[in-house]
Subunit: 343 residues, 2 copies
DNA sequence: TGCTGACCTGCTCAGATGAGCAGAGGGCGC
DNA sequence: GCGCCCTCTGCTCATCTGAGCAGGTCAGCA
């Protein structure tokens, strides 16, 4: 190298080449003629410019995704798939985008699950709404945890499952039981009921699970719905609970926060969720970082749908304890069909 | 078209294709395999994405340029060349960037001018400083307007010309005279002096002129240097002066603001500047928009070096009276060598 | 029902591009 | 001073990509 002078001249040349290539749409050959260098040199200058970040290419679209983060999440946590959308500043918008992304993911899932197990909550309701009518053909839906009121007013557990099923021309099977029972005996009795027991059994056979997670605080839907009191939440937090998955409160270690409470919680067990072939977590927002981390680091989901802040938060922690692979593994294959079924 | 549905699906598909192409560096063929479409469709999707602005390509570099604005300036004002740099927020930085760009332009000028006529001022001094040592070989420099103090302390008219010449291994010829004389007789006498007259004569033969422009206000170097008083400036503004070019105050119409004062101003005339083959204006900053407009719309420069705000301000005015051509003329050829002489 | 025109699709083919290679040049240690 | 080694250069060749074209599809309309 002839000292810094030539390096600087090269950089300037690279900037000029980049302008002519990306803004003026000239061919590398033409640029070579203008800058008096060979076209091969122009190619190298452009490669340099890209490497050094002189050229910034950005995809500005609400449905854009962060594939690099997705890849990192997959390899770090051993996930089968990850969907990461750019995070808008507005929290409401953010939740909508994540829900939309989850809907996109469902639409493009292959093979199409014949039976889909779903949880319920605000997030999943948004996913249901984001699904286009006819998003699939003949997908049946089964609820995987209790919490239904049989009325179908919007926002309830029932309406979520029903909407997802209806939009795919399938049948919804609801779990007609509270999420958490006050007494263990009641829970066992309800569970023993043929209807309820049958639904749970059916849920165990679902080809895929779609669920979100709640934060362990008083804004929880469990408090709204009256299954838990504010005091219960305080007690759970004292035991280290960070949030709930399909109604079960867990700690950062991925273990049940309160076994007694858990025994009174009706629906799929954590172990059943963990051993599922396809379990899709839909989660977004600052508040949910701890519960997201608990789920993801302890293998409770095989697919995550989230936004970039959460993704970064998950990746930023130095410990990648759950089957960690090098975060830069480039060979991971991604199959991301985008639109509806391509006929 | 199958209604909006297909259009939306296409857009989503375009976003996915863009991500895979620009972020994951896959070939269109590979993308086709992933998205289950043919590679030609992928090509079309990418073209759509670029058209609709889904893909934003930006060149982030202090030396980047705004070629589209340059082209517009050239065609609108019939310039031979225009250099427009992105405007940093900081005014000081902005002046430095413009000066740097002017230096780049000088370095890459072809043919190399054997004799370069230069004006003086803060801007040109920065240009001189931005020039690399050995920026050319054997370029001689001549001052085109008065204002020299024979001492060579930095910042004076003399040091600018000398620095430009020295750095190109050439000789500087200074114009040993005040910029503006108090009495017409004195001006005529000095002009008649063999030395001074010879220098002016030499200036008339320069292959190119390099100059900036001043604003008609009390921050002017003419006030600093004592050639004009604050009152003189007030009077000039009252006559419609917007600023000065090579020491001569002009109005927005491009005419001399005060002929009597002008007669006492020593150096190249406005007409001589206007009829020059190559006259390079270096100018930047909000305050200078009016004088820049006056110069550019009245053919006083053939090349402009500026920043994007000024460029936009010049273009925003609906009247393109000076030999205007359609602003979108795509055939205009630009020759913009970038680095040093490519040997 | 059949026609029309607009649009979309997949194709051919030529031009544009990137990978990889051999040779040139220049710094640096022996 | 000499040779070694590293880097940069210009090249060949295979691949990738975009322009343009012919055929297919579909809504609108008589």
């Amino acid at each position: 190298m002839v000292s810094t002078e030539s390096a600087a001249a090269n950089e300037l040349l690279a900037v000029r080449a980049a302008e002519l290539y990306y803004e003026e749409h000239k061919t590398q050959d033409e640029i070579g003629a203008i800058l008096r260098v060979t076209r091969w040199k122009v190619g190298r200058l452009l490669a340099q410019a890209r490497e050094r970040g002189i050229i910034r290419i950005e995809i500005v679209h609400p449905r854009a995704r962060r594939l690099a983060l997705e890849r990192d999440l997959c390899s770090r946590f051993g996930l089968r798939d990850a969907i990461v959308v750019p995070a808008p500043l507005d929290e409401v918008e953010l939740q909508a985008r994540v829900a939309e992304a989850a809907a996109d993911y469902l639409v493009s899932m292959r093979p199409v699950p014949r039976l889909l197990g779903v949880s319920w909550g605000r997030t999943l309701h948004q996913v249901a709404e984001a699904l286009p009518v006819g998003w699939s053909t003949g997908v049946n839906v089964v609820q995987i945890n209790g919490g239904v009121s049989l009325s179908k007013r919007p926002g309830t557990a029932a309406s979520t499952a029903v909407m997802i099923a209806q939009k795919a021309g399938g049948q919804a099977t609801l779990l007609p039981s509270p999420a958490i029972l006050e007494r263990l005996e009641t829970k066992k009795a309800i569970e023993g009921d043929r209807t309820v027991g049958g639904v749970v059994q059916m849920a165990r056979g679902a080809a895929a699970y779609l669920f979100s997670a709640g934060v362990a605080d008083t804004t929880s839907v469990h408090v709204d719905s009256g299954y838990l009191t504010a005091d219960d939440i305080v007690a759970l937090v004292a035991r280290g609970a960070v949030g709930d998955v399909i109604g079960r409160y867990i700690t950062a270690d991925g273990t049940i926060a309160d076994p007694e409470l858990d025994a009174r919680t009706l629906g799929l067990s954590l172990e059943e969720l963990r051993s599922a072939a396809t379990s899709i977590l839909v989660i977004g927002g600052e508040a949910k970082h701890p519960i997201a981390r608990a789920i993801v680091t302890h293998g409770l989901c095989s697919v995550i749908v989230t936004e970039e802040h959460t993704a970064r938060a998950l990746l930023d922690e130095a410990d990648g304890d759950a089957g960690a692979a090098p975060a830069t593994d480039p060979d991971r294959h991604h199959d991301i069909p985008a639109g509806g079924p391509p006929s």
